[in-house]
């Protein structure tokens, strides 16, 4: 269950019963991914189509956020 509020997004994770308070850019990453399996670079590309940001370190930063989301079970790691 995802509820966006004014500056943060609330995510209720049914499996664990935990509520996560999520700040930019995590909700945007989740939305850009949808149900697809992507690398950090691919996520960065999708985000670049919608948003303005400094792309120099984007892939590293997005990778870090994906790790964080994976550790919490909000995204799944896939091994190709």
């Amino acid at each position: 269950m995802v509820t966006p509020l004014d500056s943060l997004t609330l995510v209720y994770q049914r499996r664990s019963g935990i509520t996560h308070i999520v700040a930019e850019p995590a909700p945007e990453i989740l939305a850009a991914m949808g149900a697809d399996a992507l690398t950090a670079d691919e996520v960065a590309q999708r985000l670049a189509a919608q948003f303005d940001f400094d792309s120099a370190q984007a892939a590293d930063i997005i990778a870090a956020r994906l790790n964080e989301l994976a550790d919490l079970g909000l995204v799944e790691r896939c091994y190709a």
Partner: protein
């Protein structure tokens, strides 16, 4: 073993004690409240040791729900121990509503909810407004219905601390007060029985219409508080949010999206009441 039972809002308590005096005090203050048949919670006021039952008697709280390492209180503060015990049962065990550390008063079927840390003034404000045209709903906990989102009354004895005691003695001229308990862990404490309409209507809920974060001791000011911040603060103010799972989530998110919130600073009750009336007219 002596026993006392009382119904407060939707919760029924049974309090057992080896000493009669604190229960007599409770029974006198709660004399207009309903007496339940079946308790939700049982609480026992026990002596720390057999010897301490008679010499400098000391009260330990035991109940269905307990916090370890809670320090016992002297017997003169047994009334306080009983109230704290009831708070603890609610805070740890209640699952039928979202529990918020907050006070509330009602007007025209709508609830004004006030939340904040100790010393913010939420209890005193509720006590004050409850004697000035509003119906008192509670000063310690606000219960939010999981289906309807309504605020449900929980009008226990009002717990007044330090300066608030004098302020309410001057305001509630017909009020019934409990004994003064000086120098408790929370300062001087005196209980005040809620006004009769609060007790008579303790089963009547109200739709939350305004949420306030009061701060006592600053120049009068008003600030809007956005939903994200309200959500974070309310999860801190709720002892059972996590345990309620998905229902807690949907109830609280709906609350923060529909109830306007303001932070108010004030120096005294007169300023507070003026700010409350102004915001109620604007937002509720």
């Amino acid at each position: 073993m002596h026993e006392f039972r009382v119904q407060v809002g939707p919760a029924a308590f049974r309090i057992g004690s080896q000493w009669k005096r604190p229960l007599d005090q409770l029974a006198e203050l709660y004399r207009d409240y309903p007496v339940p048949q079946i308790p939700d919670y049982s609480v026992r006021l026990e002596s720390v040791s057999l010897l301490r039952r008679f010499i400098r008697p000391s009260v330990a709280i035991n109940g269905d729900y307990m916090l370890p390492d809670a320090a016992p209180l002297p017997l003169e503060q047994g009334l306080l121990a009983a109230e704290m015990a009831m708070n603890l049962q609610m805070a740890l065990g209640w699952r039928r509503h979202v529990l918020l550390h907050a006070s509330a008063v009602e007007k025209d079927g709508k609830a004004l909810i006030m939340t904040g840390q100790s010393g913010s003034g939420k209890s005193t404000l509720a006590a004050l407004l409850g004697h000035r045209g509003w119906r008192f709903m509670g000063d310690e906990f606000v219960l939010v219905d999981l289906e309807s989102g309504d605020a449900v009354p929980f009008p226990r004895l009002i717990s007044l601390k330090n300066e608030a005691i004098g302020a309410m003695l001057a305001t509630a001229l017909d009020g019934r007060f409990g004994p003064l308990m000086p120098s408790t862990p929370k300062g001087d404490i005196r209980h005040l029985v809620p006004p009769s309409d609060a007790i008579a209507h303790m089963a009547r809920p109200a739709r939350p219409a305004l949420l306030l974060f009061p701060s006592f001791g600053f120049d009068a000011a008003v600030r809007e508080v956005g939903p994200s911040e309200v959500f974070m603060r309310l999860t801190q103010a709720s002892t059972n949010y996590v345990a309620l799972g998905e229902k807690g989530f949907s109830t609280l998110t709906r609350f923060v999206q529909t109830v306007p919130a303001r932070a108010i600073d004030y120096r005294d009750g007169i300023e507070a009441e003026a700010l409350v009336n102004q915001l109620w007219a604007e937002c509720a």
